[in-house]
Assembly symmetry: C2
Homo-oligomer: 392 residues x 2
């Protein structure tokens, strides 16, 4: 019985084991597990047809006991029985990754205090940066599930209406303020027909992915009062191809920030430690431009899920809810270009000497993240990337 | 060759022929067409398995030519060849109706000027009733697709946070301001991977249903700034079981109201006549309380669809977009109780002498609608009904 040989310092060791959906030329999509620089064909390795369905949906719906059983098997194989998996490994750079699950409803929260304060200052300069409700409930809204796509999907610059405050009338054209939002997404496995309490979070949520909620700030600013963002966000939301199970994030769990004023009882998460110490990175054309820290998010995903369902709203397998832009207090910790460039007033200077406030055609943005693993090293959440194409 | 015998003055004659999904005890759900007081088992009558799938999805995806061919066949049968359908008719009151299609994304617009002005006065008393963008674009937002349910589904009173302006802190509990929104929904059949122009509306949209977008006004008022309605709307949205094809609404097409200021070119619908002369009715516990007129909606569904996709957002079969609350200028033409009771300041007096501002446990609300048919009489859109159950 031999352990599988893994690259030194890999972010995809036996304490990570994220799930995705891949294909090779001529094959239909099926479930894979990222291990080292390889992907394990899980249907072939286990003989379980649920992993040959082309999405994680049916596996997600099986629930925590089934998830734990597969994970335990994988850990045994990787750490003790390499021969069980070696025949079913493919080089990761030779496979095509697909959207890993069918997105049911997509909800986007707004749970970074630093982000909300930054945006509030810019969008509502005459009001306090945080609205009066912000510290009482995790503000969120529904996004467009049909335009969630896997990493690598091109970002066609959206067109739409915009009106600068000084203009009399709106004009139509390609967005001039195309932006990113660096976020973390949570994937629901087990449905619910009513409220999910904060302590039942892990009974329903399977795992975590990275999300880039591409945003058009000029469209958004003109349209969002009074019913919220719509076309400014609905053209594309990109997700990373690997869903890291909550079980891989045990070492990343931290206490969230203290809340003042105290939250209502249904949001009380004292002792649950569903803060997550994820270190995000934002790269523009290969250059590192920001390091948003997830551990400082004001609202945890357990609170977001409890809030989202407290009115009786049902949950479905494949529901995806995202954290909202992750921004820390430092300028180099902001998770969007509108913050990094302070609305264009303070453009970023890039390594080649050029400056950037918002995205230009041809720009590629890549988000990555790592977290402490249970093995003492770090694990990776993979990446979500996209390149901006000109407006059609 | 004999015409089918239909009840005098039926709203479901040969010029209507709406589609739904029904079952009988022991049968699996399948597609039916409402004809007179009966439902036609379309799979049995046509022998086409697409009508035995338990949803309209696959039929919707086939597109306008396929829709027209089935409709032409149905009209021939009903008007000339009763024997072809009579063996496949079941009494409509003996079948159970199901959600007729899989809701992909659900978008709710806000396109009645009277409604927007009424709500603006009540929610934002210190500002002009219409926001500056209202006459430039059809304001809309994404709702929760997973909680769209068929007529007859009970409405469990939602709980959540609310805060009256005079209160220091929010409180949690069952909503005290449970309301309806009488709307008309549009069902997308043919997908699109980019903008759908106003003149391509009927190439993508299959038909029309009634929508009651149940709303909790106290939850909504506290949560909706800055990202829009969320828990105040996400607990339930009810739709009528019969989808009336656009082809049945030819006689209902009217010019929309004049727009001032002029709209941007992508919203210019001059000559398209996608206003629809639908007469809605709101019934509370069997008593008629309002008659919202759809013909006066400021934005047409063709404009809504063009706007929703102008940024490149893709469309999927089963996308549902609703008009927003339909309200006319008269008090007895308002499509929500917050308007009918003016925020509770002017409660309705009912026939039994009781008064009502918002919904009470046990209340049943039923929306119905009719339109001019191509046969000279009227056609029906059926009804959407629901009864309020106490908070859990």
């Amino acid at each position: 019985m031999n352990p599988l040989d893994l690259p030194e310092g890999t972010l995809f060791g036996a304490d990570n084991l994220p799930y995705g959906v891949f294909s090779t030329p001529g094959s239909t999509p099926r479930t894979g597990v990222a291990i080292g620089d390889h992907v394990l064909d899980l249907a072939a390795a286990t003989g379980d047809g649920v992993h040959a369905t082309g999405s994680l949906d049916a596996f997600l719906a099986r629930g925590p006991q089934a998830w734990a059983a597969v994970r335990a098997q994988l850990v045994r194989w990787v750490t003790e029985d390499a021969a069980a998996v070696e025949p079913h490994l493919l080089p990761r750079d030779a496979v095509t990754m697909h959207l890993p699950f069918t997105v049911a409803d997509y909800v986007d929260f707004y749970s970074s205090q630093h982000h909300a304060e930054n945006i509030g200052c810019m969008f509502r300069p005459d009001s306090p940066p945080l609205t009066p409700n912000w510290k009482h409930l995790p503000i969120g809204y529904h996004g467009r599930a049909g335009t969630v796509a896997v990493s690598g999907t091109d970002v066609v610059r959206p067109s739409g209406q915009r009106k600068a405050p000084a203009d009399d009338l709106p004009t139509f054209g390609p967005s001039r303020r195309l932006d990113i939002e660096a976020e973390v997404g949570f994937v629901v496995g087990v449905p619910s027909d009513g409220p999910v309490t904060v302590d039942a979070f892990a009974e329903h949520v399977f795992g975590v992915c990275l999300v880039n909620d591409w945003s058009s700030r000029d469209l958004q600013a003109w349209e969002y009062v009074p019913l919220g963002p719509f076309l400014g966000k609905s053209f594309l939301t990109s997700v990373s191809p690997w869903v890291v199970p909550l079980a891989a994030l045990e070492a990343a769990r931290v206490d969230p920030p203290a809340r003042e004023p105290a939250v209502l009882p249904y949001l009380d998460d004292a002792g649950l430690r569903w803060g997550l110490d994820l270190a995000l990175e934002v790269h523009l054309n290969g250059e590192h431009v920001s390091s948003p820290p997830f551990a400082q998010m004001y609202w945890t995903p357990a609170q977001q899920l409890a809030h989202m369902t407290v009115n009786g709203a049902t949950l479905r397998t494949g529901d995806l809810f995202a954290s909202g832009t992750v921004s820390g207090p430092g300028r180099d910790q902001r998770g969007s270009f509108i913050e990094l460039s302070w609305g264009g007033a303070e453009p970023l200077t890039l390594a080649d000497g050029s400056t950037r406030s918002f995205l230009e055609d041809g720009d590629t943005v890549t988000l990555t993240a790592t977290a402490p693993g249970t093995g003492g090293g770090r694990i990776g959440l993979g990446e979500v990337t996209g390149t901006v194409l000109p407006a059609r």
